[in-house]
C-alpha cells in the first residue's frame, strides 16, 4: 500500500511549514529564557508538578473547563472543536491500527484513511469505528455551527461583542470552517460510491447514491479530496501566524506556569508563551468598562496582545486601560494581562530622570514612635477625613504609631510603575523601604490599596507585616482592643476597590468590619466581579468626563442598593464615586471612627 495521491501535496506542504514554524518558535523562546527560568523548568520537569500540569492541559486545552464556567455555550463550542478534533485524530489512529496493524503510516495516511482504504478494499469491516468516527464528526460539526453563529450573531452565544479579526486570522478561520463540512462531503461521497460509513456519512452517502448520477459522483470525488487537503493545508500554513497558534502555545504555557515561571516587570522571553497563548476568543471584551460605558473598542486585552505579538503596539493602546483586572479575572487561558501590559509600558517609556530624585537623600518627615507604622499615601492626604479617622482609631486602641508621611512623604511608587516608569518607581521603593527599616516597625498599615499592592508585590519587607487598614481594624475588633457600636439602623453598601479586591485578594475583611457596625447590602457587581470606579491611576488616556461617565455608572449600581452610606476602602475610589453618587460616600475608617464605643 502506498499512501500517496497528488491531492495530498497541499496537506504535506502545510504540515511541513506548520511543524517547522512551531519548532523555530519554541526553540527561540526557550533559548531566550533567562538562566533562572531555565533552572525552574529543569526542576519542575522532574517533580509532581509535571503531572498536575498534564491534568490541567487535559482540562483546559481539550475540555476548556474555564470557558464552561464563564459561558457554557461558548465552552461547548471550544470543547467540541478541540476535544472533538483530538478524538477524531486519536480514534482515527486506532482505526488504522485496527485495520492495518502497527506499522509506519505517514500522517496524511491517517487523515485521508477513507480515501486510501475504501470499504471495498477491506476484508473484515469494523462498523463500530464508522459509527464512532461519524459521531465524533457530528460533535465537531456542532461546534463549527456554533462558531458560525457566534461570528454572525454573537449575542446568541451570550457575548455582546466578539473579536474583530485581522486578515491572517480570517484566512485561518475560513479554512477551519471549511475543513469539517468538506470532510463530511468527502466521506459521504466515498460512502456513496464504495459503501460503508455510519448514520452520518453513510446516511448522506445513501441519499447521494440514490439522487445523483454515479458518473457525477466519480467526477467530483477527486476534487473534493483536493478541497479537503487544501483547506487543511491553508489552515496549517496560517496557523503559526494567526490566533490558532494558541492551540500549540497553551500546552507549554501550562507546563511552564506549573514550573513557576511568571511574567515580570520587564519584558522577557517567557512572555511570548503568554502572548501567543491568547486564542482571541474575545471573552475579555464584554467585561471591559471602557467598552461598556465609553464605547472604546480597540484597546481590550485581546487587541493589546495581538498588537504586541505583531510588534505594532502603540502607546495609546497600551495606556488606555484601567488595569482593573476584570478581564484578567475572566480570561480562560489565565494570561497575566496586567503584568504584560505593564511591562509593555515599561519598554515603551522607562526613561528614569536621575536628577529628579536628588531630594530623596537624607529626607525624613516622619513623626511619632511605635512598632506600628502608618503610611497614609498621597490620596489619603487628599482625603483628610480618612486620616483623622485613622488617628481616632489608633487613639481608641491605644496604639503607639509611627506616622510615615503625615507631614508629607514620598510616593509609594505604584503610580510611576503603572505608567511604565519602573526604574523611577524603584527609587521610591528603595527610599521608603529604608525609612521603614530605620524606624524599626513590625507592622505597616496603609489605608490606600494602591500603596498596599506595591508594598506587597515589590517592597519585599522582611520582618514587617503589611496590612491594609481594613485588615488592621478587623484585627483590633477581634482582639477586643476596639469596640464599635452595632445598630441595625445603619445600612451600608460596599464598593470593592480593584487594587484591594482583585489586586490583593481582600474581600472579606472590609465586609466583616462593616457588619460589625450595621447591615451590609451588596451591589449587583461585587467581589471578583466588582466594577472599577473609573479614576484608576493606570489609565492616562481617558479624560475626566469619561472617568465621570464610568463613576456615575458605578455609583448608580451602589445607589440602587438603597443603603444610606456607600463605603469603600480606597481614597481614590471614594473621590471618584462621590462625584456620581446621590448617597454619602465614606471610607471604611470613617464609619468605624464614627461608631467607636
Amino acid at each position: 500500500m502506498t499512501f500517496f495521491a497528488d491531492f495530498c501535496i497541499p496537506f504535506i506542504v502545510g504540515e511541513i511549514i506548520l511543524f517547522t514554524a512551531i519548532a523555530i518558535k519554541y526553540i527561540m523562546w526557550l533559548k531566550g529564557l533567562p538562566k533562572s527560568d531555565k533552572k525552574l523548568i529543569l526542576k519542575g520537569a522532574f517533580s509532581p508538578r509535571f503531572f498536575t500540569a498534564t491534568w490541567e492541559v487535559i482540562r483546559e486545552s481539550l475540555l476548556h473547563h474555564r470557558i464552561f464556567k464563564v459561558n457554557p455555550l461558548l465552552g461547548y463550542m471550544h470543547m467540541s472543536l478541540a476535544f472533538g478534533w483530538f478524538l477524531l485524530i486519536s480514534v482515527g489512529w486506532i482505526e488504522t491500527i485496527a485495520y492495518l496493524g502497527l506499522k509506519m503510516i505517514p500522517l496524511h495516511g491517517h487523515v485521508f484513511f477513507k480515501y486510501f482504504i475504501p470499504l471495498n478494499e477491506i476484508t473484515a469491516h469494523k462498523p463500530m469505528f464508522d459509527f464512532v468516527m461519524d459521531f465524533l464528526l457530528l460533535f465537531v460539526l456542532s461546534g463549527v455551527t456554533l462558531a458560525w453563529i457566534k461570528r454572525m450573531r454573537s449575542r446568541a452565544m451570550g457575548m455582546k461583542k466578539t473579536t474583530q479579526h485581522i486578515s491572517f486570522d480570517r484566512i485561518a478561520l475560513t479554512a477551519l470552517w471549511f475543513v469539517f463540512p468538506v470532510r463530511l462531503l468527502c466521506e459521504s461521497v466515498t460512502s456513496a460510491i464504495y459503501g460503508g460509513g455510519s448514520f452520518l456519512t453513510g446516511g448522506i452517502g445513501t441519499l447521494l447514491a440514490a439522487g445523483i448520477n454515479t458518473e457525477i459522483l466519480h467526477a467530483i470525488y477527486e476534487p473534493l479530496w483536493w478541497l479537503y487537503s487544501c483547506a487543511l493545508g491553508i489552515f496549517f500554513v496560517a496557523m503559526p501566524f494567526s490566533r490558532y497558534m494558541h492551540i500549540f502555545t497553551e500546552i507549554p504555557l501550562i507546563f511552564l506556569r506549573h514550573f513557576h515561571l511568571r511574567p515580570e516587570a520587564k519584558e522577557k522571553s517567557y512572555d511570548n508563551f503568554e502572548v501567543e497563548a491568547c486564542s482571541r476568543c474575545g471573552i475579555c471584551i464584554d467585561p471591559c468598562q471602557l467598552q461598556m460605558q465609553l464605547g472604546i473598542n480597540d484597546v481590550q486585552s485581546v487587541y493589546f496582545l495581538r498588537d504586541r505579538r505583531k510588534n505594532r503596539l502603540q502607546q495609546k493602546i497600551a495606556n488606555n486601560c484601567l488595569m482593573c483586572g476584570r478581564c484578567e479575572q475572566i480570561c480562560p487561558v489565565g494570561i497575566n494581562l496586567n503584568t504584560l501590559r505593564l511591562n509593555s509600558r515599561t519598554s515603551m517609556r522607562n526613561i528614569p530622570n536621575e536628577s529628579r530624585y536628588k531630594y530623596l537623600k537624607n529626607l525624613d518627615r516622619s513623626s511619632g514612635e511605635g512598632r506600628v507604622g502608618y503610611f497614609a499615601g498621597c490620596m489619603t492626604l487628599l482625603t483628610p477625613n480618612t486620616l483623622s479617622a485613622m488617628q481616632r482609631i489608633f487613639d481608641a486602641a491605644r496604639e503607639d504609631v509611627w506616622w510615615a508621611d503625615k507631614n508629607g512623604g514620598v510616593c509609594c511608587g505604584r503610580p510611576l510603575k503603572l505608567s511604565g516608569e519602573s526604574d523611577s518607581a524603584q527609587k521610591m521603593i528603595d527610599y521608603n523601604k529604608s525609612l521603614f527599616y530605620k524606624h524599626n516597625i513590625t507592622i505597616l498599615v496603609t489605608s490606600c490599596p494602591i500603596c498596599l499592592r506595591i508594598f506587597n508585590e515589590e517592597y519585599k519587607l522582611d520582618g514587617i507585616e503589611v496590612l491594609h487598614h481594613s485588615e488592621y481594624i478587623l484585627r483590633l475588633i477581634e482582639q477586643g482592643r476596639l469596640h464599635v457600636n452595632y445598630s441595625t439602623e445603619h445600612t451600608f453598601t460596599y464598593h470593592d476597590p480593584c487594587e484591594l479586591g482583585r489586586g490583593s485578594g481582600i474581600y472579606n475583611e472590609p465586609r466583616a468590619v462593616i457588619e460589625a457596625i450595621g447591615t451590609l447590602l451588596e451591589p449587583s457587581h461585587s467581589r471578583k466581579n466588582a466594577l472599577c470606579c473609573g479614576s484608576s491611576l493606570a489609565n492616562t488616556a481617558i479624560n475626566d468626563s469619561q472617568q465621570l461617565t464610568i463613576a456615575r455608572n458605578v455609583a448608580e449600581d451602589l445607589d440602587n442598593t438603597g443603603a444610606e452610606t456607600i463605603v469603600t476602602a480606597c481614597p481614590l475610589c471614594k473621590k471618584a464615586i462621590a462625584r456620581g453618587a446621590t448617597h454619602q460616600v465614606k471610607d471604611l475608617s470613617e464609619i468605624v471612627a464614627a461608631n467607636i464605643l
Binding site: L382, P384, S388, G408, S545
Partner: protein, 336 residues
C-alpha cells in the same frame, strides 16, 4: 389686569417684580426661604464700591412697596411651570399669564473638595462664612484669637473638572480682592495671601480695586492653586501649593483659610428640563433663547429668565436682568 408669577425672591426676582408692578401688572413673587433677598441677604458689602448689601435690598423692598400689585408668598417652592400655571410643592397651583424664573444658583459645597479640609479643620471657612462673620463683626479664629496670616483660595468649585464645574463663576476673583481688603482694614498687621489661577477683573472699578489691594493694602497674590491642607504641629493650617510664576512648590503655615466657593447651577434645573421642557446648558445653568437679543427669554414662549439662573452674574447684572425680563414680559403680554 394681567398676572405674572416671578419665581425666586433674590435681587433679580425682586427687581423684576417691582418693574412689572409699576406697569400695572399683578405679580405674585414666590420665595422658598422665609424672606426675600436671596444670597445678597447673607452678604456684608458689595464690590467694588463696598456698598452695604442691606442698602441694595432695602432699596428694592422700597421699590416693591410703591404699588399694591405685588403679593409675596414666602416658604413656597414651585415644582412644575407652564406659561399659564405654576404648581407649588404644597400641591396648590396658581394661574397666570406669564412666568419669570429667577431662582438663581447654589453655592458650591466646599466639603466636596475634601483636600481643603472644610468641615474637618477648624479655621477653614468659605467666602460665605466670612461674610457672615463680617456681618456679625466677629472675624476670629475658632479659639477666639486674632488671625495673623490668612490665605484666600480662588476657584473652589469653579474651573475644576474634578468636581464637574468647568465654568468660571466670575464674581469670586473680585470677591477675593474685596474680602482681602476688608480683612486688612480689620487687621492691618495680618498677612493676607490670595492664591489664584488668573485674576479676572472684568467689571468697572475692579482692576483699580485689585491694584489698590496690592499697593495700598499690601495684599499678596500668588499664582497657583493650593493642592492640600493639613494641620501642622502648632495646630495651624499647613497649605501646599505651587507658585507657578517661579515654578517652585511652596508650603506655608496659615491661621485661616478662606475658600472662594463658586456658583453651581441649581439641582432643580434638571427637573425644569425634564418636567417643564426648558433647555439646560452643559454647565446645568438654563439656556436662554439666545445670548444677545433674547437673553431673558426661555425656549418656551411665556416663560422668562432673570438673574443667575442662566449663568453666574454679579448683583448689578442680576438687577439689569430683572428689569429687562420685565420689559420682555410686558411686550409679550401686549402681543397676546
Amino acid at each position: 389686569m394681567k398676572h405674572v408669577i416671578v419665581i425666586g425672591g433674590g435681587v433679580a426676582g425682586m427687581q423684576c417684580a417691582a418693574e412689572l408692578a409699576m406697569q400695572d401688572i399683578k405679580v405674585t413673587l414666590l420665595e422658598k426661604k422665609s424672606d426675600t433677598g436671596g444670597k445678597v441677604r447673607g452678604w456684608h458689602k458689595l464690590f467694588p464700591t463696598f456698598t452695604p448689601a442691606d442698602e441694595v435690598l432695602s432699596g428694592l423692598r422700597h421699590k416693591m412697596a410703591l404699588t399694591q400689585n405685588i403679593t409675596t408668598k414666602t416658604g413656597c417652592e414651585a415644582t412644575t411651570i407652564t406659561p399659564q400655571k405654576v404648581t407649588l410643592s404644597t400641591g396648590e397651583s396658581i394661574n397666570c399669564d406669564a412666568v419669570v424664573v429667577a431662582t438663581g444658583y447654589t453655592l458650591f459645597d466646599a466639603h466636596i473638595k475634601e483636600e481643603y479640609g472644610y468641615g474637618i479643620y477648624d479655621n477653614v471657612i468659605t467666602s460665605a462664612d466670612l461674610e457672615e462673620m463680617f456681618n456679625k463683626d466677629d472675624v476670629r479664629m475658632k479659639d477666639g484669637s486674632t488671625p495673623r496670616r490668612i490665605a484666600i483660595l480662588h476657584c473652589v468649585g469653579s474651573r475644576d473638572e474634578k468636581v464637574c464645574q468647568r465654568h468660571c463663576s466670575k464674581v469670586c476673583c473680585v470677591t477675593g480682592v474685596k474680602q482681602a481688603i476688608e480683612l486688612k482694614q480689620m487687621y492691618p498687621a495680618a498677612d493676607v495671601f490670595n492664591f489664584y489661577m488668573d485674576i479676572r477683573m472684568f467689571g468697572p472699578g475692579y482692576e483699580e480695586m485689585y491694584r489698590e489691594a496690592q499697593q495700598k493694602y499690601n495684599v499678596h497674590f500668588v499664582r497657583g492653586r493650593i493642592s492640600e491642607v493639613s494641620p501642622n504641629i502648632d495646630n495651624r493650617l499647613q497649605i501646599k501649593a505651587e507658585d507657578t510664576l517661579t515654578g517652585r512648590p511652596l508650603k506655608m503655615g496659615v491661621d485661616m483659610l478662606v475658600l472662594l466657593i463658586g456658583m453651581k447651577s441649581n439641582d432643580h434645573n434638571a427637573s425644569l428640563k425634564a418636567d417643564c421642557g426648558l433647555q439646560c446648558q452643559n454647565s446645568g445653568f438654563m439656556q436662554p433663547k439666545d445670548s444677545f437679543l433674547h437673553n431673558t427669554e426661555s425656549n418656551i414662549e411665556g416663560i422668562f429668565y432673570a438673574g443667575a439662573i442662566t449663568a453666574p452674574k454679579n448683583v448689578a447684572e442680576a438687577l439689569n436682568d430683572g428689569a429687562t425680563a420685565a420689559l420682555r414680559v410686558k411686550d409679550w403680554l401686549n402681543k397676546q
